[in-house]
Symmetry: C2
Subunit: 183 residues, 2 copies
DNA sequence: CTTTACATGTAACTCGTTACATGATTAA
DNA sequence: TTAATCATGTAACGAGTTACATGTAAAG
């Protein structure tokens, strides 16, 4: 049920529409909890029904009307409570490693290209993190406390990405040597 | 649909019952794709229906009967095909970082203890990896190719865990200084 | 006689994905 | 008039979780 909490997290900063939330997820929170717009719209509806969010239709000039959501006092209380609760352990789910369990002389080239693809994706993500860091998190010690939390999350993302690249290089080396001298 | 593939991966090595599979997941494959016994039993049934697995009831002495599953030629073919397919990007889903986005002077102590809890869990996992490595993967270069893949997966797990510990220490330091001098 | 390990399941529910559907406004 | 951006949804399905249910056999 963390998507609901991720949505409310974003709404603590600013009132937003479903569409704006979807963009906000793409730009930041979604690094740690991905969501499609469909799911966001559904969860917004549920949160409204539970009175954790208020909604109002806002007409716009030159654009279709949007539905703005704002967190209610009950919503804030629910968030405070949630942060206090113990979260369950992160779930390990990644095809890539299951595929590695299936490594054979036949599929080495396939796994090499899969790793190269992942490597490229992770590098792109790292560029993005670097851009955000330079733009908003140059001096972490001087940030207000809320921003420090975000900084720490992004810092994890950065280190995690760098670690992946490092591992990936070693893995590619090993796989390449498998390909060259198959047994 | 990767749980089905993870199950077949395990069955490539050995015929197993649902119960044995659940244990195998706890001991190794589950590091990368967690599953409960309920889900495993359900997926085994589906895989049997699709003729990717054969099942037979095996009586045992001193224990209840078990249902042994074996991968069929069609199952092997499906696995080969799956490894060849492009896997979708890994899904980022972790409460912890969403909670960090909610950092405030009120919940700093809570997040500190959450991090300490995680740190402990990761250390335990690292001990386990280390034990496995010493037992079975001392000389990765000399392993048969399939085992090299598993080695690489475990190696990723190890590096990933170590990276987390490192990040965690930095994060705890920052959070502790927040607690000491609140603004 | 009680606990632990072995062994297999069902039902209800929530979460997440994919495909489909609609429509306004602006710029080329 | 066509494409791009903004904006909100529904329906069907598949994946995953939680709670519940049942029973055998060994060991203490």
């Amino acid at each position: 049920m963390a998507l609901q909490h991720a949505i409310m997290t974003a709404l603590l900063e600013d009132d937003m529409s479903g569409f704006e939330l979807a963009r906000a997820f793409d730009a930041s929170l979604g690094f740690f909890w991905r969501a499609t717009h469909q799911q966001i719209y559904q969860e917004l509806k549920k949160l409204s029904q539970k009175k954790l969010l208020d909604s109002k239709s806002v007409p716009q000039v030159g654009k279709p009307r949007k539905i703005l959501y704002a967190i209610t006092p009950a919503g804030r209380a629910a968030m405070d409570k949630w942060v206090y609760e113990e979260s369950r352990v992160q779930e390990a789910k990644d095809d890539l490693f299951v595929k590695l369990y299936n490594l054979s002389s036949d599929n080495v080239p396939q796994l090499i290209s899969e790793l190269e693809r992942r490597r490229e994706q992770v590098m792109q993500r790292l560029y993005l993190y670097e851009k955000i860091r330079r733009g908003h998190y140059e001096n972490p010690e001087t940030l207000p406390i809320r921003r420090k939390g975000i900084y720490l999350a992004l810092d994890w993302g950065t280190q995690h990405g760098e670690q992946f690249l490092q591992w990936c290089d070693g893995a590619l080396e090993m796989l390449t040597s498998c390909k060259d001298m198959p047994t």
